[in-house]
């Protein structure tokens, strides 16, 4: 009896292993053939590219080195561009978070909103989240002209959807007792949200807000490259002109500011939600 069971278990186990092995082999095959295919489609090959990998960084670093002390003068020159990128990200995150708050309140099951609008608002957020920022930015640049505003609107649109989903998850996990207490005092829906919901969700909202801000700084820098202004536009110009030292300075500025924001936002988030809840 035990032997029969052991045999059956053994058979199941080996079949499972076979499946795992097969799927891993399949994955490996996809990766290998994918890289082969990608290498074929690429204008430069893999091996020769690998050899050239350090050429460009070395070239811009050496040009920066040749500039000597003048290199450091580039930083104050590009500071306005960096501030513009940070402004795009900050405005987009603030406006996005405001819309996300409204959308999330309208799509949480525990806040006594009409049940019919919940799935509708969720689909709207899904669409906003999935819509590529690049398309909105390019369209608005065409209509409004090259300026930071198209990028800010594009990033804010995406942010509303992305934060809205996270915020609604936070809303659904709150303690409803304060809401009931407020209801007993005869307060209206807005007052219940203001005094029952917001104080509970604010720490988590802030944490997600900061995380999003960091992501949006990267997104705004990239959108600058297609004409939205800020450090991306400077970078595209510097690379186009082959100005190595300027490129190096811009790379360094972007890198340092992203790392600084990353560290600062981790620190603040730990402070808001407490180290034990920190994810």
């Amino acid at each position: 009896m035990v032997d029969v069971m052991r045999n059956q278990l053994g058979a199941l186990e080996s079949r499972r292993r076979l499946y795992t092995g097969l799927s891993l082999a399949l994955l490996l095959a996809v990766v290998v053939s994918g890289y082969h295919e990608a290498s074929q489609l690429n204008s430069g090959g893999f091996l020769q590219g690998l050899l050239k990998f350090f050429d460009y960084p070395a070239q811009i670093v050496s040009q920066a080195w040749d500039d000597g002390w003048e290199f450091w003068a580039l930083f104050p020159r590009f500071l306005p561009a960096l501030i513009e990128t940070l402004n795009i990200a900050a405005v987009a995150t603030i406006i996005g978070a405001l819309f996300a708050t409204i959308l999330s309140l309208a799509s949480s099951r525990n806040l006594e909103v009409p049940p019919v609008i919940i799935p509708a608002v969720r689909r709207v957020m899904d669409i906003m989240r999935a819509f590529p920022e690049l398309i909105i930015a390019l369209f608005l640049i065409f209509v409004l002209g090259a300026s930071p505003v198209p990028a800010a609107i594009a990033v804010a649109f995406h942010t509303s959807g992305a934060l809205g989903k996270l915020f609604s998850e936070v809303n659904e996990n709150i303690d409803v007792k304060p809401l009931e207490g407020l209801k007993a005092t005869g307060s209206n829906w807005l007052q219940r949200v203001r005094f029952g919901v917001i104080p509970q969700v604010l720490p988590n909202y802030s944490s997600y807000f900061l995380l999003r801000f960091e992501i949006n700084v990267r997104a705004s820098a990239i959108l600058g490259f297609v004409g939205a202004g800020g450090i991306g536009t400077e970078l595209s110009r510097a690379i186009g002109w082959g100005a190595g030292a300027e490129t190096a300075a811009l790379f360094l500025m972007l890198f340092l500011s992203i790392v600084a924001i990353d560290q600062l936002s981790s620190y603040l988030r730990r402070h808001f939600v407490g180290a034990e809840n920190f994810k």
């Binding site: 996809v30 990766v31 994918g34 890289y35 295919e37 990608a38 290498s39 489609l41 690429n42 204008s43 430069g44 893999f46 590219g49 690998l50 050239k52 990998f53 050429d55 460009y56 960084p57 513009e84 402004n87 900050a90 405005v91 603030i94 899904d126 989240r129 999935a130 819509f131 590529p132 920022e133 690049l134 398309i135 390019l138 369209f139 065409f142 209509v143 409004l144 002209g145 300026s147 930071p148 505003v149 800010a152 005094f195 104080p199 990267r218 820098a221 990239i222 959108l223 490259f225 297609v226 991306g232 970078l235 690379i239 790379f251 972007l254 890198f255 992203i258 790392v259 990353d262 994810k279």
Partner: protein, 445 residues
Amino acid sequence: MAVVEPSSAMLAETVRVSVKKASAVPMLLLTGVVLYLIYAWNAFDITALLERAQLSKGALLVSDSIAYKTHVTKSFRGNELEVAIEGERTATYKQLPDWVEGTVDSFSVDLGEGYFVRVEGQGLEFEVPGYGTIRSKLVDKKIVTELPEGAVPTWLNARDVKLDARPTFSRRVQFTRAKIEIHKFDYGWENFWFPFNSVLHGKSFGELAGIAASSDRIEADTPNWLFILKSFWGNPDWQHGIVAVALFETILMAVLGTVTAAACALPLAFVAASNFNRNGAIRFVVRRIFDFVRGIDMLIWSLIFIRAFGLGPLTGSLAIAFTDTGSLGKLFSEALENIDRKQVEGVESTGANRWQRYRFGVIPQILPVFTSQFLYYVESNTRSATVIGALGAGGIGLVLVETMRTSRDWENTFYIIGLIIVMVFLMDGASSWLRRKLIAGGETR
């Protein structure tokens, strides 16, 4: 009663004070945000922007994306008359369409609803209902225009070098020293299926099926169904083949990049997790590597890789792989630090070696996090791959930017935008479907 009265008043006062205190922080935050937005309004110079904004340009773009125009061109140098869709040589009418009548020296164009153009030699008459007739002539290398009585409408621009009249969206007449060009707009996407000069142009689906099934070959060495596919695939105006390859490249970038990143991040995450690696110095180094590759950012990585590897999906894949090795490595190492020791100890008590402990005690615990993060990143990288493609890494992003930059045909841009959105939605749907399937009892959303 006399005792209760003051205490309830005191209670109310206490509540009021605490509400005030609780309100203070959000109010301060709100004020800060409002002040910042006022600053940003000035920094972005939105007032000037609103003045400069050309909303009509946007409306034009949208209407142009669902319409196509036919050019009737008379050039003075060669004394030629040509009717072509979008003015392209490959889409020239061999016989004049029925709304153009006459010869190069004297012809008339019927633009419908009473709008009518007559061209005689180097002069034209444009009848506009509700306005009158515009008469223009080329005299001594100058365009002399006679307008009806009254104020000059905004759709009309008559100068010595050029006459430009566009009374409605779908009708436009331009007269320069070199040529007369009349545009007629029609709704629809012309030549979407087959090139204009192809024998298959304008055939219905039924007719096409008939041609595909017939053994009477259009081209001697290819079967008809293959010929139909080839004509569609190689359509020069819409470039279905090139667009499809570009979409494939973008998805390839996202999937390959994320798979590579996950494969590199998993082993490194073990080294970076404090409960698997006791050596603090190595842990520190690996964590800084994660921060470093993440901080460099996809933008910079792709610019460096474009230099080294040229244009194409390999460049995009590597840029995604490098950035996300950092992001996924950080996430995985945090997941590893939060695992339950008991399961590992249980496996250990059966005499399992180190590798078996990892395989049966650790991997099953982090697999849900691993899978869901992996799928989430594949989906989000499809969007990133479109963007870094636009920077020059290739794929559909580059095709989009190129079509927009030439801005020759907005319907092409519109078509590509539609395809990108469909692609992103499909990837989004596939990723959340897989997440639900693979992680039983996990996310129900």
